[in-house]
Amino acid sequence: MSPLFDFTDYGALLSLVSSSLIAGALLGIVGGLIGFFVMARDLPFAVHGISELSFAGAAGALLIGADVVTGSIVGSLIAALLIGLLGPRARERNSVIGVLMPFGLGLGILFLALYPGRSANRFGLLTGQVVSVDTPQVAVLSVVALVVLVALLLIWRPLLFASVDEDVATARGVPVRTLSLVFMVLLALTVSIAVQTVGALLVLALLVTPAAAALRVAADPLVVSLLSMLFAVVSMLGGILLALGAAIPISPYVTTISFVIYLVCRGIGRWRRRIPTADVGFPP
């Protein structure tokens, strides 16, 4: 049985994973930032749905020998646009996602079952494989991350306005529908690079948990988004560094760190009584 932690030859290992660390940090920054809007727009379930189709796309690419990153981007773009176009309202959206998600997962499993290659590649897509990310892949991930980051910053104010108060934003002339589709595309791109690192099943740990944690301790949008990015980066880098000394995938480490941060923030939030837990409800 492989140990959970084994730090012999750690220094030598570290030099091998510098590109993974860069990829991890970038992903943390983008994931944490977009997670802020995922929470503001109530889209955690959509993130999960997109990641399953992204997984199917990547598995399909693996099967036909195409580029896995491209496959996962295509899969998540299709999912995001379907969700964005078919279900603009929360209720419709959730049923569209509920229909798409098992289909995507099933498709992905079919592709993997047909794939004759190494089985490590198969499960990497579901559970994460950042340590195996090579330099050209890091380049692709970095470009995608930068595009998403810049685009998000440019649409920040109208997007936040539309996320918080769609009716008034519409009345004030914000192109709410266009922004919503643009956001879904950015979300799809982020999910597809996250699938490469933490795996399809655990994308939520990076795109939802850090932002949810930050919301427990702050309300200023700037502070919430900075904290969310910080939490996501800490989870990613901590996960990669801990996974180095072990023979198991990176994702349990990332999800555990991110979950512990969430628990701590929840504790702090409750102690400060600034944000009520869902079951307390609102004053009348």
């Binding site: 910053l153 440019l154 104010r157 009716d167 008034v168 004030r172 002339g173 914000v174 200023d220 944000i275």
Partner: protein, 264 residues
């Protein structure tokens, strides 16, 4: 002086159904017009037409001297209060900031001018005590004051209000309508106020537009809100009763007519 709003033989309908037609109406600067009527009579759609979100099916409409267009910064819009989800990542003051720079694309670098304007608006609606709290934790009345602040960001000569007092208690209804009225007087702004209950603003209203099933009447409250006129509009017997300074409308089988809900 040009009218703040001018409807000329306007009609509005969609999906083969006409909400109203033949509407000719000038709303003057400084005038407070209450838009009344049962649900589905096209009150909110009328606001959408003014906002440039819904084209008229016939006739003409000019808004502050120009054709209606989306994103007109000279219109302030106050929606009805709704509870914000606990995961809404904004504070009270951020609601006001949406009015100042919420439609602006580009890097969200903080600007001192924006911050100062938001602070002015927060002070103008007496929201200083709670503006830094999470918006989701604010009471309905606090939230609505901030939304008034948001709507006043561009010092608009026309205010559109869509049920802004709904689900507020009497004290907050009075406070929020007073803020709206204060802006009207200071700026000589026209106010289009959609409501199902005219009583909280009865003292401020110059004229009412009462819409029922495509029919409508326009005039001062004492001329329109009478048993005779409303019975004709509703095509059934309706009693309008004045109790102290309130108006209670009792419809025969018209439960959807919501003034009736104000009966003790």
């Amino acid at each position: 002086m040009t009218a703040a709003l001018r409807f000329e033989d306007a009609a509005l309908g969609f999906g083969g159904r006409t909400l109203w037609r033949g509407l000719t109406l000038d709303v003057e600067p400084g005038e407070f017009l209450a838009v009344l009527g049962p649900n589905g009579s096209g009150k909110t759609t009328l606001l959408k037409a003014v906002l440039g979100l819904q084209p008229l099916s016939e006739g003409g409409l000019t808004v502050l001297g120009e054709p209606p267009r989306r994103g007109n910064r000279r219109i302030g819009y106050i929606p009805q209060q709704r509870l914000l989800d606990a995961s809404t990542p904004v504070r009270g003051v951020d609601l006001v900031r949406f009015g100042v720079n919420g439609t602006r694309f580009g890097l969200p670098l903080p600007r001192r001018r924006d911050r100062e304007r938001a602070a002015e608006l927060v002070a103008a609606v007496d929201a200083g005590g709670y503006a830094s709290r999470p918006a989701a934790l604010l009471s309905g009345g606090e939230q609505q004051r901030l939304r008034v602040g948001q709507a006043l960001a561009d010092d608009p000569p026309l205010l559109l209000c869509d049920e802004p007092l709904i689900s507020l208690d009497l004290a907050n209804q009075a406070a929020v309508s007073a803020l709206i009225d204060r802006h009207r007087r200071a700026r000589n702004a026209a106010v289009l106020f959609v409501t199902h209950d005219v009583n909280p603003v009865l003292g401020l209203v110059d004229r009412v537009l009462y819409l029922v099933d495509g029919r409508f009447r326009i005039g001062p409250p004492r001329e329109v809100l009478t048993s005779e006129v409303l019975s004709e509009l509703f095509r059934t017997h309706v009693d309008v009763v004045r109790v102290h300074d309130r108006i209670v409308v009792v419809g025969a089988g018209h439960e959807e007519h919501e003034h009736a809900g104000r009966l003790p």
